[in-house]
Amino acid sequence: MFDKWKARLTAAKQNKNNKQNQDNNKTLIEGESDYIEQNDFEGQHVFTKEDVNNEAADDIENKKPYAKAQDDAISENLMDNLIKLRQEFGQSADLTIREFTVGKFKAAVITIEGMVNKLMVGENILKPLNQFNTDGLDINESFKFIRDNIFAATEQDQLSVMTEVMSLIMSGFAVLMFDGIPAAIAVGVQGFSFRGISEPLSESVLLGSREGFVEAVRINVSMIRRRIKSPKLRFESYFIGEQSKTNVYLCYMDGAVAPQVLKSIRDKLKTINMDSVIESGYIQPFFEQKPLSLFSTVGTTERPDTVCGKVMEGRVAVLVDGTPFALIIPHLFVENFQTIDDYTSRPYYATLIRILKYISFFASIFLPGIYVAIGTFHQEMLPDNLLYNIAKAEMNTPLTLLEEALLIHIVFEIVKEAGLRLPKPIGQAVSIVGGLVLGDTAVSSGFIGAPMVIIVALSAITGFVIPKLNEPIVAIRFISIIAGGYMGIFGVMVIMSMMWCNICAMNSNGIIYTTPVSPFGKTFWQDVAARIGWKSLSKRNLVIQKLPGSEISDD
């Protein structure tokens, strides 16, 4: 991270030098002292308003939190700096300032409680400083020596503005300030605690990695890097959220991702204007073409192996600090049916499972609606004995098929929600009460027919086969039940047509959401309807922008 900043600072410095060559008399323009970055105690470089503007144009404001505010240069007076920090943080209990002396010079280490490893602060910062002998050195020489030779840390940088100081201490750095020096040294000693890497609960697999993302974004970055040891794998860091300054990473493979896609995602990221970004779901709608659609054109995963697979195909992953869910863009409709297991199982089995998933998707949405439609309007479709059994079961219930279907689905959704939110042991009890006790007694008391319970159970189970589509499935299921109850098969099919139209009209950053089904491409046979073997699959070298109907040009 620091390397990039330094490169930009160097570039800015070169610009500045060029400018200075043109007009040596205009090193500092009166009235522009607000924009001065005071790194020049060693005569290094001086920033003018122009440089700041140049950097802004260079997107540095997205890379570097608070970089816009250049009006808060670090003072030479240590006390002033500490007062300013205390004022900014108010009475926040987690701000820790340790004042001490290094030889004859006053100094202070500023950290945030819980964000740093105290042992590392002691061993790598305080202990060497206590042992440092400043005899014969002035403050500038001491500072330079300490900066270049003392600390045993891989992450270290010199800071010149207070906003940078605040940003870095809140990211787990220890910042060292000296009285008489208008600069600070930031040392990476992050040591906050986070949840250990474990199997992702929402995406369990049979034959695959047991690693899932955690809440610390840097750990997630390392998990991806560990899987793709290529210099072409790139991470771009951004800070989103006016208050939260949440660290967001874009992850992509240089050469595989289409520049237009990358630019589009960067542009959208810049349009996000929120106070806080707590979850990836907060920023997800900003990447969607139709945010009001039932289906999402942004994929989510908490599996690093899935992210790796996707970025290799030219997609971009968005990792947000504080959540284990990464966003994948562009995202296709058929990807909702794909799991890592599909690629680790044998092709014939993966194909079979895929087909079952497609059937499950339609059954989950339309089975209750079709049942209600057939039972209400088209009884002639059923074999005589089945019709007789259904009629017998429904004869004793006080509700119509439509009412029964709606009621039992509402109850089911309530039970599901209750089981999900409650603590696990109680949640299981709720599921048992809801599923077994309620269902059984409702049938035996003649409140609902047994066939309807079977239909609801089937549609619920089939819905769980594609958990990524749970939200649209539930919504459309209710609509199709109502349509089937009032209009029969006609109503259900109209709803199905509208659903297809909605899905087909969507576009995920220039990639058609329904490709390669419609528009049709040979990938349909390779990795959608079927899953061919790896020997063949590895030959195709698929990148997403090459799929049929892509609006992304090759140039």
Partner: protein, 362 residues
């Protein structure tokens, strides 16, 4: 990376194919003088071939003025001509949409849900079509690709399920009508492919080779329509010919495993086809009237068109007489000839005249 807002020639022909097939699936022989038999199959086939020939001026025009369509070409000659052409085509598509809604309403309320009201069906299908128009042409064209699969499955299922019951001797032998009967049937069949007019409007939004696709499309229609007429006649003979919706009646006889009747399922698939058809016509109406009133009135155009189609379509769906009134047939035949043959020919002649004038000035 901006949306090109266009569809491929293949997608357009899939849209048009579904529209044409929907007409055939819900056709009635009530008003046909030949009343089924080999004659009917042959005359329908001849009608399709004749329609293909009649569309040649249009294809020539679209080739001369690539990417312009008939409205753009006419506008290029004279602005008033472009506006007039847009208005005529717009009204024609409104009429076609009304007829389609009326026919399908009649079909559904007669066959599928006799106790349901026409109003409900009209409103629901038109609302769904409005939704599709807002989703855009590309979305509709892609949906058509999926609907094509459903339609093909439904037609093949009925066709294959009935194979054991085919009896070719049940079909009335050819040349059993009078010359007047043949002429009338041919005239009717000629007007049964109004989708050609849609090519004239959609052309500017289509990438790919229109002409090559046109003949493949006509060939596919010829085969499918012949199959749809043949199956009920081969299974039911004269009985099938006298029924209002022969292919549907044939589907009621077909059995699939333990499912006693598959007709409701088949009609369910056809509903998706009707959705595509009505949506396509509404889209075309919007495209035509947008040329006249401007894009800023798009929403108003869609809503007004939807109200007209749902309201008037319902009036045409109450009885067989209102659906197949002879006056309506004549209006349909004349208007179809006008939009697929006469108007394109006039604009085509205009392009030659313009070229001559340009040469003179040079």
């Amino acid at each position: 990376m901006a949306s090109k807002n266009c569809i491929t020639a293949g997608q357009m022909y899939v849209l048009l194919f579904i529209s044409r097939i929907m007409l055939e699936l819900t056709y009635s022989l009530e008003t046909d003088p030949l009343q089924g038999g080999w004659d009917y199959i042959l005359i329908t086939a001849a009608g399709i071939i004749l329609t293909a020939i009649a569309a040649l001026p249009l294809l020539w025009l679209l080739k001369r003025r690539q990417g312009m369509g008939i409205i753009g070409s006419a506008e290029y000659e004279y602005r008033w001509l472009g506006i007039s052409i847009a208005a005529i085509y717009g009204i024609f598509f409104v009429y076609q949409a009304i007829r389609s809604v009326g026919r399908f309403d009649f079909f559904v309320t007669t066959i599928l849900s006799p106790n349901s009201s026409y109003l409900t069906f009209s409103i629901l299908i038109v609302l769904a079509a409005v939704y599709a128009v807002f989703m855009g042409l590309e979305g509709l064209a892609r949906t058509a690709g999926i609907v094509l699969v459903l339609m093909t499955v439904s037609i093949l299922t009925v066709t294959l399920a009935l194979i054991p019951q085919y009896d070719l001797y049940a079909i009335r032998p050819p040349i059993s009508g009078t010359p007047e009967d043949y002429m009338q049937s041919l005239f009717t069949a000629f007007s049964w492919t109004p989708e050609i007019a849609a090519i004239a409007i959609l052309a500017p939004k289509v990438k790919g080779r229109l002409n090559k696709g046109f003949f493949i499309w006509m060939g596919a229609i010829l085969l499918t329509v012949s199959l749809i007429i043949f199956v009920p006649l081969a299974v039911m003979g004269e009985f099938g010919a006298n029924k209002m919706f022969p292919f549907y009646i044939a589907s009621t006889i077909a059995r699939l495993g333990s499912i006693e009747r598959i007709d409701a399922l088949m009609v369910g698939f056809w509903v998706t086809g009707m959705f595509v058809k009505i949506s396509m016509y509404m889209m075309l109406v919007t495209m035509c009237f947008e040329k006249i009133f401007g894009k800023k009135h798009r929403t108003a155009i869609i809503i007004i068109t939807a109200i007209i189609i749902a309201g008037v379509g319902m009036l045409f769906s109450s009885t067989i007489k209102s659906v197949y009134a002879p006056q309506l047939q004549i209006i349909e035949q004349i208007s179809t000839i006008a939009v697929i043959l006469v108007l394109p020919a006039i604009v085509l002649l205009g392009t030659f005249k313009k070229k001559r004038n340009v040469k003179k000035h040079e």
